[in-house]
């Protein structure tokens, strides 16, 4: 049985923040969940997916975050309790839907999880999504740990349903990916969604005349939510000391440890702001009146700090309020207990010996790399060999972005998902160097298609390579519309990439298997040589070997070895396969060998060099 379906109320389980959110959703009667995967939110989606395989709850991996939110909106407006989750940048994609869904509201409770990633552990930026609450007018809850994440999910669904408005649950990586003991509540029977849509176009169809009314209604709701925030159990103070500390999210834990370590528990009042929007102005004013000065401990932007300063100004309270700044809390990257301890010591003038550090000697870097046998590597290798060395490579987000590393060095420009195709079009109109753009299959469906149509329409001139490895590999192998292989073997794809490309108006399309170097090289060469201008598309199709082994259970029969014929020409090193090792003990004592445990048997190196031969894997 899935441990999240445990029925023993009161039992404690060691849950990941993301699992706690799922459990909270289930306890709150969520019957409909949608998501596009993205670290650090992915386990919420994957967990709902697995539960949906055995329970009538509806879950879908949507094609992108905007689609996920709009799909969820359809369910929520039909009265179904709904959860939609995404990473922080996913909310940018969904923002258009979000802003006006805030006007329209919901009937069934809806929680939208936005998982922020301070320190960019696996993201392209570290934007602070608390501003989305202020921008959209939606209420926002921010948990400090998995237990609170579960409680806030439940409270969020209730708050949403009572006020008929979606609720944002904002987490950060350290909440999503921390585990602690979570106490289970009652689990209601998990049922299929049984919604009922009632026609009400003058409240649900946002033409300007309706939008004006809805905006007024949103402002009314906000007043009511303001009262909710003032009495929310998630906004609380601890202690009665004169030194004020304001915090929220995971930083709260760092504050507690620092206060304990510094022995200043009786000197401080800690104000936790778990419902950060609407801001609990009254509690904040009372707090400001009681303390002498305030340090705000928050990650990323000075969001609470500025809000607090406005609050103080409006209440004519003149007290020192600080947060970001030299010797206090940095505005970039994650903070940690040490940083907080130092900031508290500095701000309240305490003695605190600097942490002892040891001397760390230099060790080689260990960046993540494309796996042995990854078809993306073969595609890069083939293309690099045949194109003009001046070629520009706009790229996209996925495992294949790792091709940026030398010696492949096959990435020149990237901003967000889908940017490969559209920026390639811009390059082609603005400058003269040739362009080959790369996009993954899941990314193509997520946000590549509109760019491709745009490129065809506006006569952009570039080659687009769609890296079709049959899965969303980067985030842990979720399916996408073009999936052709599943645990059950070959399946008919719901949407064929080739059909989509042709449907977008592309005339020159070639499909290759990148693991066949010679044949693929010929096919691509032919496509490049054809003198037609415009957009040419290459679909590089070969399944992710990790997916093949893990999900499809494929067994590997052969490995490759470097035989005595090797003359140390090092051509094979250009592949950058992590299974191929170069060793130079001293001058004149070089060797190249293949680590058999790592080799996935893709045979690409053997096609590059005749000194490499197959043998049976033992």
């Amino acid at each position: 049985m899935n441990h999240l379906l445990e029925r023993e109320t009161g039992k404690k389980l060691l849950l990941l923040g993301n699992e706690a959110i799922i459990r909270g959703g289930l306890e709150a009667g969520v019957r409909f969940a949608t998501a596009y995967p993205g670290t650090p939110s992915t386990e919420i989606a994957d967990g709902f997916y697995h539960i949906s395989l055995q329970e009538p709850l509806y879950f879908e991996y949507s094609v992108n975050e905007k689609v996920a939110l709009e799909t969820a909106a359809g369910a929520a407006i039909s009265g179904v309790r709904t959860l939609c989750c995404m990473k922080h940048v996913g909310l940018n994609v969904a923002a258009d839907a979000l802003m006006t869904l805030a006007y329209v509201g919901v009937k069934g409770g809806m929680v939208i999880v936005t998982a922020d990633d301070p320190s960019l552990h696996s993201s392209q930026n570290e934007q602070d999504n608390r501003y989305y609450a202020r921008l959209s007018g939606l209420p926002m809850l921010e948990p400090a740990d998995p237990q609170m994440a579960k409680e806030m999910t439940i409270a969020g669904i209730e708050l949403s349903e009572i006020n008929q408005i979606p609720v944002l649950l904002r987490t950060t990586t350290r909440v999503n990916h921390s585990r602690c003991a979570v106490t289970l509540g009652d689990l209601p029977e998990i049922k299929a969604p049984e919604g009922n849509f009632e026609k009400d176009p003058f409240n649900l169809v946002v033409v300007p005349m309706v939008g004006r009314q809805l905006h007024l209604r949103l402002l009314e709701k906000k007043k009511k939510l303001q009262e909710e925030s003032e009495k929310s159990p998630f906004n609380f103070t601890e202690g009665t000391g004169k030194w004020g500390i304001v915090t929220s999210g995971v930083s709260y834990n760092y504050v507690l440890d620092a206060v304990e370590d510094l022995g200043i528990k009786d000197k401080v009042t800690i104000f936790y702001i778990g419902m950060s929007h609407p801001f609990p102005t009254q509690i904040a004013t009372d707090f400001l009146n009681k303390v002498e000065s305030v340090l705000v401990v928050e990650e990323l932007e000075p969001y609470l700090e500025e809000t607090l300063k406005v609050t103080a100004f409006e209440a004519s309270i003149e007290k020192e309020i600080a947060g970001k700044g030299d010797n206090l809390i940095p505005r970039h990257f994650e903070i940690d207990p040490g940083i907080v301890k130092k900031a508290i010591s500095n701000f309240f003038n305490l003695e605190s010996p600097p942490a002892e550090t040891l001397s760390v000697s230099e060790v080689p870097s260990r960046p993540p790399n494309l796996c042995p046998g990854c078809p993306h590597r073969a595609t890069y290798y083939i293309i690099k060999k045949i194109v003009n060395p001046e070629t520009i490579y706009p790229t996209d987000i996925g495992c294949y972005t790792l091709g940026v590393l030398p010696p492949l060095s096959m990435a020149d420009f990237l901003i967000c998902m889908g940017s490969s195709v559209s920026s390639a079009g811009g390059f082609s109109k603005a400058q003269k160097k040739p362009i080959v753009a790369f996009i993954g299959d899941s990314t193509f469906f997520h946000s590549g298609i509109t760019g491709l149509i745009n490129a065809v329409t506006n006569d952009h001139n570039f080659v687009l390579v769609i890296l079709d490895n049959g899965t969303t590999a980067m985030t842990g192998h979720q399916p996408h519309p073009g999936v052709e292989f599943g645990p059950q073997g070959k399946i008919e794809p719901k949407v064929k990439i080739e059909d989509v490309v042709k449907g977008c108006g592309v005339k020159s399309v070639a499909v290759i298997n990148p693991l066949q170097i010679k044949k693929s090289t010929e096919t691509i060469q032919k496509l490049l040589d054809s003198d037609s201008r415009g957009v040419k598309v290459i679909i590089a199709k070969s399944p992710c070997p990790l997916y093949e082994r893990r999900v499809m259970g494929k067994k590997q029969k052969i490995v490759f070895e470097i035989t005595d014929e090797c003359d140390l020409c090092k051509d094979c090193l250009e592949l950058a396969c992590p299974a191929i090792f170069y060793e130079k003990a001293r001058e004149g004592e070089e060797r190249i060998f293949i680590n058999e445990t790592l080799c996935s048997g893709c045979s690409v190196c053997a096609q590059v060099c005749t000194a490499i031969k197959a043998k049976k894997k033992n």
Partner: protein, 193 residues
């Protein structure tokens, strides 16, 4: 404050996350307050994987520089990289078998001499326990059981307030049935060091 802050580091594929998860489960079973923090994402692609287990009277799920009570390293150069988390009172438990990163195998960077590397760690911390986890794992039946060997050493020498029997129980109930015997053997080999 009585607490145990264990920082774990290794390379994607070495099973560090399973190890931290099991320590967390064992602590929960033993009735200790516990938090585990992990970084997912790049784990599969040969990058560094760091995680932490914090037990006892502490609230933060992560460990700042210089504050680890125990460093559990699955690879020697990663032990050195993670030395920033340690202080002179730290106990370092480390596998001594290098996993050569791609930057070295492709001839771009070089891997330091392992003995010197380990000596430098040994000289700076309260106690250093280095051992060949790969050999012991092979002896147990599978290279993949190195994480269990390391857990064995931790439970023998780590001074944790958790009975080793609880950990054995966790291995029995929370790891894959197919690897159960190997895992338990590997744990015992580590435990008898």
């Amino acid at each position: 404050m009585s607490s145990w802050r264990i920082f774990c580091t290794g390379v994607g594929g070495q099973g560090t996350l399973l190890a931290t998860y099991l320590i967390g489960e064992a602590a929960l079973k033993a009735g200790l307050p516990v938090m585990v923090s992990e970084i997912h994402g790049m784990a599969q692609r040969g990058g560094v994987v760091e995680s932490a287990v914090v037990m006892g009277d502490r609230k933060s799920p992560i460990i700042s520089d210089g504050e680890a009570d125990i460093l559990l390293a699955f690879e020697p150069s990663e032990a050195m990289r993670a030395l920033r988390k340690c202080n002179s009172e730290t106990l370092v438990i480390s596998n001594i078998v290098p996993l050569i990163p791609f930057t070295v195998s492709s001839g771009k960077e070089s891997y330091p001499e392992v003995d010197k590397l380990l000596d430098s760690i040994r000289n700076q911390v309260r106690r250093f326990i280095g051992f060949n986890a790969l050999e012991l794992a092979r002896k147990a039946g599978s290279e993949l059981s190195q994480n269990m060997v390391i857990l064995g050493v931790l439970f023998k020498h780590g001074g944790l307030p958790i009975d080793a029997e609880i950990m054995r129980d966790m291995i029995r109930t929370k790891t894959k049935k197919a690897f159960l015997d190997v895992n338990l053997r590997a744990f015992e080999l580590g435990y008898s060091l």
